[in-house]
Subunit: 133 residues, 4 copies
């Protein structure tokens, strides 16, 4: 995606490993869109009485991913404490929605796919946390 | 990205052409991330006194893209009037930031790239508007 | 709220009537929070099978209000075309969620209250559109 | 604001102290709007070369407040780990922007006011964390 090339052109990068930043942003973009789509599909399922937790936790996860992605994208004058805590919140949101989606993965393929992207995003958050130190 | 597969699994799709929806979402994701990255790079440029409009209009464009992408992702019980007007707002935001980034494209490659992604997103919004009818 | 005092201290205001801006922002803040709360309450109602459209349209309305409020808050170098189209999108979102919440107002007080705040926000959007011209 | 009344009508509240939730949401709403307004005013100041960190950290704080406020508003089937970590991220964002705004409080009244609302929001986050346990 174009945003990666733009990030590589930053005149005063923050020093945080850029590949880890970009990987976290990429997975946050897909995870946010996937969670919005999974919550929405769940709302239309015949068994949506069983899907209330999925709908709620996927909405949370989309919100956490969008905020985290914006903070992580900014390389000017970063605050590493904030970057660390918001990436941790995002990882926690991913774990929560992945766990709930797993419970429905056998009968709803969108939940199986959503759990996978949440886990990839959680991994990218953990890798970025390791890179921040 | 995974979100596309999830959208294709929606149990009760809205009837709006799904390829147009997905293309709009894809470009909104890249345009939002690119505008956040371009505003941030502009804030660190030595000539940032010239970049004030870029910083402002790219922030607006990121906000418009994120909201539009969420609305467009939802296929359950859509309101087509809302879909139409928010996609129009997104297209207008893309035009505004592309025009401003164009003014700086010769000396800031990130602005040249950002103008391009804004125009791709504007095109995807127009195509979706045509598909909605 | 403090944001109003901060807006009045802007060193180079845009010329758009500030009372109309502030009233639109105020109602967008309450409308976004109210729609998030109403969608969430609806998800926990015993008759939530009837609430699917409320849940979806209130989520849309919260997204539209948050993006619109951010764009409208910025007074530096505004683009009036964008301001106009995004405020129109917000007004359209408010009309959609108010109409849906009205259908449930008799048996869910949170829907009655939510419809009211959506209508106040729609009015503030219309007033701002008149002030922009 | 109306959102408080709607939250009090939730049919299956989460058990987290509601006054603490509402106070956190209220201050997140004002803090997000104030940070957006302060970043925007800073971008128009004659000495904005000194304001780069304010502009960046206030943008981060607005993003953290908006995501946190949405997660905290939802009372259906909450995940307390997520609530805790995202409220901590919000508190960290408030501390960062308050500290930077303090440096400019003597010559920019909007920074003095913004630092104050960030500290109120930080306090409301801390109080909510204590209530979650």
């Amino acid at each position: 995606m174009t945003f990666q090339e733009i990030m590589e052109l930053h005149p005063r990068p923050s020093g945080v490993d850029r590949d880890s930043l970009i990987r976290c942003i990429e997975t946050c973009l897909d995870c946010s869109a996937s969670c919005t789509a999974c919550a929405d599909a769940s709302l239309s399922e015949p068994d949506f009485a069983e899907m209330i937790r999925v709908i709620r936790l996927c909405a949370d996860c989309a919100d956490a991913c969008d905020a985290t992605r914006r903070v992580v994208t900014r390389q000017t004058a970063p605050n590493l404490d904030l970057m660390r805590t918001i990436v941790q919140a995002c990882a926690t949101a991913c774990v929560a929605s992945a766990a709930e989606c797993d419970l429905h993965a056998a009968h709803h393929e969108h939940c199986r796919l959503c759990a996978e992207v949440c886990r990839r995003c959680k991994q990218a958050c953990d890798d970025l946390l390791a890179a921040i130190g």
